[in-house]
């Protein structure tokens, strides 16, 4: 490998590692706010602002699926970093379904509100 290519890869590792490190450090220490990550807004005619907050099951399952898929992929790449590993179709399908559930729940909460209020 040419010395300039070696130097480029070393500097690239430093920059990327530094960038990932800073973002994760800020995520862990609260420098990037993660408050209310699992809370969604729901249309609420009884509230003064027109909406209120609730803990969303759709967000919880989307978070778990995302973390699982991301860790699975990263571990496969670290295990064999010669090519992009292909993902099982089932995992991609599960991820798509999970995001669809999250978006469906969000759309229902923000556009319609609670079903009991909607059916009144």
């Amino acid at each position: 490998m040419a010395p300039v290519a070696k130097l480029a890869s070393t500097l690239g590792v430093c920059l990327l590692g530094g960038f990932f490190g800073i973002v994760f450090w800020k995520l862990l220490t609260g420098g990037i706010r993660l408050a209310d990550l699992l809370e969604g807004d729901i249309r609420d005619p009884n509230s003064a602002g027109g909406y209120s907050s609730y803990v969303s099951a759709g967000r919880v399952q989307a978070l778990l699926t995302t973390v699982f898929a991301a860790l699975y992929y990263l571990l496969r790449v670290i295990h064999d970093p010669r090519e992009f590993p292909s993902l099982p179709g089932g995992l991609v399908g599960a991820l798509a379904a999970s995001q669809a559930v999250y978006l469906g729940g969000k759309a229902q909460a923000m556009l319609l509100g609670r079903l009991r209020d909607f059916l009144k």
């Binding site: 130097l7 500097l11 993660l34 991301a70 992929y73 990263l74 993902l87 556009l111």
Partner: protein, 135 residues
């Protein structure tokens, strides 16, 4: 001076290019090529380092990277960040390991597509509801 880091980066780049041009053995074409390569490498690294240092010191504020207008963190932004990081890190590891541009499987593109579409649709839902809610 307002942008002293920028001036220092350019001076270091020119200095590196000069040192390489003077010290490397070979004909003028080789010297020119190497000094340009090392100069651009140093310049790109220093620009990247300036951005990193600014983020670390808080000069570039990324505390609201995942925050929506309503105030809370956004799940759609968070998952987009996670998947972008994972694919970028994987891409870099593969390039460093094999020194060639890797083939990207269709399902990896699908993964990124699902992630980005979720963010886009989430913003659309928020806009059509008229609420400044969490994403």
């Amino acid at each position: 001076m307002k942008n002293i880091e920028f001036v220092i980066s350019v001076i270091l780049t020119v200095g590196t290019a000069l040192v390489v041009a003077l010290w490397v053995q070979g004909d003028a074409t080789v010297k020119l090529k190497l000094s340009f390569e090392y100069g651009m490498l140093v310049l790109l690294f220093l620009f990247g380092f300036m951005v990193l240092a600014a983020i670390a010191s808080g000069k570039i504020d990324i505390s609201k990277l995942l925050t929506e207008d309503g105030g809370g963190a956004s799940m759609s932004r968070f998952q987009l960040l996670i998947f972008t990081f994972v694919i970028a890190l994987s891409f870099f590891l593969i390039v460093v390991c094999d020194w060639k541009f890797p083939e990207i499987p269709a399902n990896v593109l699908a993964l990124l597509g699902i992630s980005a579409t979720t963010y886009g649709v989430s913003k659309g839902i928020q806009a059509s509801s008229g609420l400044k809610g969490k994403g």
